[in-house]
Symmetry: D2
Subunit: 296 residues, 4 copies
């Protein structure tokens, strides 16, 4: 498919590479040009502006937050002003429910199609084309871009005609991961202070009821106090918890565990952990229990 790709960060560069590998013609845009150059060597065409990336049948945006998505979507040089009628904007970023709704409306008005398709997986999964895609929007549009999903992920879930549903599911998924981080952080602070070996403890957990990737990955990082380099930055963790809380506010759903996580992320950032992986939240219990700070 002739397509554009906007946003070549930790996640996006792996996704774009896999699209190229699958035979799609990718025109790639990134704010800093060096990431584009790397992809051009793999066969991509470079885009100097967002508009340059909007000439094909579809464009995927994969950016860090609402503001970045808004910046490339609206305005004279944005996706909406430059994408052909009938073409599809696939938003793979983790964005707020409110923005998902706004994007859907704006693309419909411009006679374009919009699919919200946030992905589950860390950068290694993006590189290995092992992401999970949660897609929502017009069923025909989802079908048309499904070859792109096949190129980047191991499975696609079409969940709803309403793009906001995909946003909410993705955000709630990140909330669930952060909940695992917090619960493991507390449990390891407890058994660790009693002298139990954290790695052996994790082996028991993952051999029994907790044999899911999320426990293996994050449990390992917490057991080893290994929070750099950041696969998913603490600032992004806070952003997603904030968006979950905003969705809860809008829908009037109290979320005490999300509230706890919010305070944890603020503590981590306020005490110097901005550069750490979000799993560093799992080291705050041990710190409060008299151990050392994840910031060191």
């Amino acid at each position: 498919m002739d397509m554009g790709f906007i946003g070549l960060g930790n996640m996006g560069s792996g996704m774009a590479s896999n699209l190229l590998a699958a035979g799609h013609r990718v025109t790639a845009y990134n704010r800093s040009q060096d990431k584009v150059d790397a992809l051009v060597e793999a066969g991509a065409r470079p885009a100097r502006t967002v508009a340059d990336a909007c000439g094909g049948e579809a464009v995927i945006s994969m950016l860090a937050n609402d503001a970045a998505v808004e910046a490339v979507t609206f305005g004279a040089d944005g996706i909406i002003a430059n994408l052909p009628k009938g073409a599809v904007h696939v938003s793979a970023s983790t964005i707020s429910v409110a923005l998902a709704e706004r994007l859907a409306t704006a693309h419909t008005e411009a006679e374009q199609r919009f699919v919200a398709a946030p992905v589950f997986g860390r950068p290694e999964a993006a590189e290995a084309a092992k992401l999970f895609v949660v897609a929502a929007g017009d069923p025909a549009a989802i079908r048309d871009v499904s070859p792109l999903f096949d190129a980047i992920g191991q499975r696609t879930f079409a969940v709803s005609d309403d793009p906001t549903a995909a946003s909410l599911i993705k955000l709630s998924g990140n909330f669930l991961i952060a909940s695992v981080i917090e619960s493991l952080g507390e449990a390891m602070a407890l058994v660790g202070k009693a002298g139990v070996d954290k790695q052996q403890y994790l082996d028991i957990l993952t051999s029994t009821l907790f044999g899911a990737p999320v426990y293996q990955t994050y449990g390992g990082l917490i057991a080893r106090d290994e929070f750099e380099p950041a696969g998913f930055a603490a600032t992004l963790g806070l952003k997603d918890v904030r968006l979950v809380l905003e969705a809860g506010d809008e829908l009037r759903v109290p979320l005490p565990l999300a509230s706890l996580l919010r305070d944890r992320f603020l503590t981590l950032l306020a005490t110097g952990g901005e550069h750490l992986d979000w799993s560093a939240v799992g080291a705050l219990s041990a710190w409060e229990a008299g151990g050392r700070s994840p910031v060191g």
Copy 2:
């Protein structure tokens, strides 16, 4: 092995049956006699008193809480007064760290051996001999009773010479399960109120990062609002969270998520949910969000 089994409840009856099936000679005791009769049909010898169950090389106790374990262990008719020197008391119950310590000391003074061996798994796993055994105590004693562990479980972890470690690990495991219940309860209250189908949502979770039994089992119960019959009663959930908090207090480890869970269990019990499965805690978020109470 010639052994006794004390406590034929939800978990214990399955365990004792599997010990019989594996060829061990089991003398079984239970406070209410009808449970004993059922097991006698499967080949067990009935014990009228705790002392009757203490004549062999080992005795396993599997009871609901500290008080029940204390009642069968101490006093003239208790395990300590009646178990032969050198024989092993295997405590499979989930008990407090403090009681584990007290039992270890008392058995040593009586020249008996003590192994703390709490198990992971629900009644179905007990029946299917699929439990996980976390054993701590004298390594020779653990080795001597390992045929019993093989008969009831799929795997045994020998974690420490110190019996309290097994207690703490088991308690923290139940804390982690309760954390999953709470986090799923909040997430499902949120996406459910937005119109997402809870069962489909759970399918996405368990297909991606959350593919562990704990998500499948408890997520299913919450998605279906199915809290009866209680596989593990809410009162026992509160008991275990309370013991985790007590261990945290003793070791000076703040545990905000465990504190949240304590309040959740108290709410569930105070509003009439005493008879429900502990996963009913996962329905409290939806109730607070304006939905119906798990009590109905």
Copy 3:
């Protein structure tokens, strides 16, 4: 002083009356005209538009939330477009730190002056001219409008040159009140379930260490389960807690008690308490302890 007054709700009507009583010439605007008519009988001049109220040396706005303040301030018919150069806009509303900052900038650009002057006190205090005014902004501007503050309040605190400081202090004050509501709610749920008379309990508290108006007022409402009519609506309580949390997010200050309050307000609103006084949050503990809901 020749002045305008915008917003004749629960608080504003009392304030405007007191300004009239003190001899100021008040041109009053309100979205619904009947409130204006009542004030005209007391001597005010009616304004048909916001612009009509902006002809004097100062204009006070007293509105329910950020959106309402934005609506009367910006745009062709707004305060900024119509207030004379050098005149002062006094914002007495409880608004976000972000909006305080935006207003300050906009008025400076328009060569007008801006004073943030939120007030402490319930409608009865507004009527009795017993408010406390927390003013921040250009010292000369504060001095110029101090006769207005004298007419509506018992004391004015000039806290900073920076208008956002007044906003933050006001919001944090409401957070402290809500904290008292929550703590009294929990304490009364506890002693009440033990059979202690709530009113006698409150008498002990206010005779000893807790002899402040905030305990008397809110403790009485909670002890009597008296949440209607709403002196300060639950929706406004949620708004202010939300703004405190946003300020904490911006400044990176974790606020676990504010997080708890947020969830309490969401629960109250989600279960039908939108019309109640914010003190109804203090009845949620008793509800969760098995008592009846404040909604009835």
Copy 4:
């Protein structure tokens, strides 16, 4: 009145001095003898054992926790074994509801009388005879010892025939104080980080809705970061919050704010603040917001 006084700590020494000053004949006991010597100079008779202090019409015990009260009450040398029939044991300590119940039963069995009379006030109030006494028990017994209450306090509240009620009220009062500490700690962390002067902020609060001793005293300590010497030690704060939570557990009342306080106290103690005043909990928010620890 001819009476004994047991426990000459921070609080007890002031109380005993005031009993002497009011003309009562006080036989004083303390575990470490030097405190007794100081009081003997003021006119007290020294007791070498608890039994020595039990010869009069009444004995007051004022000790740090349940264990200390149990140690002087039960056993051959304890109050119960040595107090004359009909004499009154006044327990002024802050003790658990469970112990209050146990003491009431034991004294009744010994044909003695028991009054639970915990006091509100810090050591300065004890010294100045300005305590508030919350008394519960047999009305005749309360009447008989009321001259003692008059000597140590400014007012006595007779709340119930049931001694446990006084215990619960006292514990809940300490919970409310700790709640004020936490809420002020969060508010000051927030406004302080925004550059507002903490002392001026406190002045505004106490001039308006928060003009109670509890805000003045604890607000001042937090604003000045002045946590030594400890008027009421952090360890005692944790003890009382723990007792409140236990009472809540027994009565099935969820107490999320008390749960938060428990975690705060554990954090304070785990990070080295055992020697600090309990108001140091109010410095933890600023610490988590990137400021310095109250431990320094």
